[in-house]
């Protein structure tokens, strides 16, 4: 199974990943070979088999949605790690253009 170039571009776009032309070719080959390997799963009969999403057997693990206080210093540190900020807010590019 070989991915088409357009498919690689489409996946990269969905995943918000920039790729150079060389990288497109490289990932196309590598991802195709991995998809070729996992193809073997199609041989397994899974009729009436329930999918397993997690293995703990826990159902609806819930807790109170309580707000934990955060001190001023931590708050400042959280904003300080942001690449762009204004006052105590994280700044980004406009969402609407």
């Amino acid at each position: 199974m070989k991915l088409k170039t357009q498919e690689v571009e489409h996946i990269a776009k969905l995943a918000r990943l920039g790729l150079t032309e060389d990288e497109k070719k490289k990932f196309q080959d590598q991802i195709s070979s991995i998809l070729g390997y996992v193809e073997k799963l199609q041989k397994v009969d899974t009729k009436n088999v329930e999918p397993t999403a997690q293995v703990t057997g826990l159902i609806n693990a819930i807790r109170e949605d309580e707000v934990e206080a955060c001190d001023k210093e931590t708050m400042k540190k959280l904003v300080d790690v942001a690449p762009m900020k204004k006052d105590n807010l994280v700044k980004t590019k406009a969402i609407f253009e």
Partner: protein, 476 residues
């Protein structure tokens, strides 16, 4: 000859502290000296937290002086994989995208370790975001195998395991998604254990594949490992997948009379002949200790790696979407034209090849029209793999296998061939898929490099494999 302090086990170091033969600062300095003299060559550490370590050690020494009773890990220096958060310390995940990220809180395991008086020496190297089997994909350079520095240490927790194997610390925590502690432990000749999924809280562990990830310790002896596991395990409100096991203290079960399964699917073509010999000898040793070997079959074993390479990247693609260049980490925001541009360029420059490969693979598997054929199919086969184990454990107490099909390979050998690299996890991924515990213990050498023997246990039955491993280790 007097043993150097940093070469002691946790138990020996604890005894020495209690009898005041040496102090926690002595132990800490011995480890820091070892790091200084050796780590230029090994590259096990990304960050050394010398000040934090000495401050913690002094606190313990003060307690010893005032006659306080020491807990088992109190005053013992250790290291943490650099995807586990320590408040106010850098946490990079081995990635450029988090090169300068400072953690704002302690992971639950770190909170527990601090309460237990642990001395934190620093943060260890890993494959970028724990994605890899050789610790070569780290943005901070590859870690070398301490036994032979031309070889890889395995991965992704190569830094943690190499640090233990070269006596830079007494023990370390890594994380596992498909064998990332057991496999390097096998390649470096130390103990590594993945507890059952749900045993140890992942709060403060950077998420890779959430249905598989588990924090996993590595130590010099099985006895030490038990102490570390006792400290870090337990239910945590902040990780809703942890299980509250109000279990009665399990009965100590001797290996004598125990039934141990040998799955035929784990001794296959392609496995190194010398490695197989060492593992077979290890199995003989278990027999001599009084265990009865039972031939078993885990028929879906050959599909485990394929399941893994669908489930894991799918979850990765979702978990890594948070690294967007806006709230923290590396960014191209100041040079970008618009928001979309920020995402594309930040993630192109910030992530390495393996991370991008897995994000793309997962995005593809989850994309519209492919979900049923990939993710759902893989989850169904996952059920069959889990059923195989459930069935086997009705007949045997635990299972013995090789940990890795080969010994450590040359640095660079498999780096450009992802699929070959992935095959090195073939014996370890099943435990993550089924959520069961597994431990790797050294079982001799092949080609002058360490070989590991793997024991797999029933879900939440760490006790049995720890007992078997411990008796195995003591048998001469």
């Amino acid at each position: 000859m007097k043993k150097l302090l940093n070469t002691l086990t946790i138990k020996e170091a604890h005894k020495g502290l209690v009898s005041k033969k040496f102090s926690s600062v002595d132990l800490t300095k011995a480890c820091l000296d070892q790091i200084k003299s050796l780590d230029k060559k090994i590259n096990a550490f990304i960050t050394v937290t010398e000040d934090l370590a000495l401050e913690q050690a002094k606190k313990v020494d003060k307690k010893i002086k005032s006659g306080g009773k020491l807990k088992p890990l109190e005053g013992i220096p250790m290291a943490l994989k650099d995807n586990i958060l320590v408040k106010d310390a850098k946490c990079t995940a081995g990635s450029k995208i988090l090169e300068n990220y400072i953690a704002s809180y302690d992971a639950t395991v770190v909170k527990k370790l601090k309460e237990a008086g642990a001395v934190i020496l620093g943060k260890t190297n890993l494959d970028e975001f724990a994605m890899g089997s050789s610790t070569e994909s780290s943005y901070f350079g590859s870690t070398k195998n301490p036994i032979d520095t031309k070889k890889v240490p395995g991965g992704s927790s190569g830094g943690s395991v190499a640090a233990v194997a070269s006596d830079m610390c007494f023990y370390a925590l890594g994380s596992e998604t498909g064998g990332s502690v057991r496999q390097p432990a096998s390649l470096c000749g130390v103990i590594g254990m993945k507890p059952s999924y749900g045993r140890v809280s992942r709060y403060g562990l950077m998420a890779m594949a959430s249905s598989l990830d588990q924090i996993s310790p590595t130590t010099k002896t099985v006895e030490d490992l038990r102490m570390v596991l006792d400290c870090i395990m337990g239910v945590d409100k902040k990780d809703s997948t942890t299980v509250d096991l109000k279990e009665e203290k399990p009965k100590k079960k001797s290996i004598k009379g125990m039934k141990i399964g040998v799955p035929k699917e784990y001794f296959i073509k392609g496995m190194d002949k010398e490695v197989e010999k060492r593992v077979r000898e290890g199995i003989k040793k278990l027999e001599k200790l009084g265990a009865k070997m039972v031939d078993i079959s885990l028929p879906h074993t050959e599909y485990a790696l394929a399941v893994y390479y669908i489930v894991m990247p799918s979850e990765v693609s979702s978990n890594l979407s948070r690294y967007d260049g806006i709230r923290y980490g590396f960014t191209t925001v100041s040079k970008a034209k618009n928001l979309m541009d920020v995402y594309f360029e930040t993630r192109r420059q910030g992530f390495g090849d393996e991370a991008r490969r897995r994000i793309m693979l997962g995005t593809y598997a989850l994309s519209s029209g492919y979900y049923d054929a990939y993710y759902k199919k893989a989850q169904q086969v996952r059920t069959l793999i889990k059923n195989d184990f459930d069935k086997a454990f009705t007949k045997v107490d635990c299972i013995v296998t090789p940990t890795s099909p080969t010994v450590a390979w040359d640095i660079g050998e498999k780096f450009d061939d992802p699929l070959t690299m992935y095959l090195s996890d073939i014996y370890t991924v099943s435990a993550n898929i089924a959520g069961i515990p597994g431990i790797s213990v050294p079982c001799g050498e092949a080609h002058n490099l360490p070989v590991g023997l793997q024991l797999l246990g029933k879900q939440f039955d760490e006790e049995t494999i720890l007992n078997v491993a411990s008796e195995y280790e003591e048998y001469k």
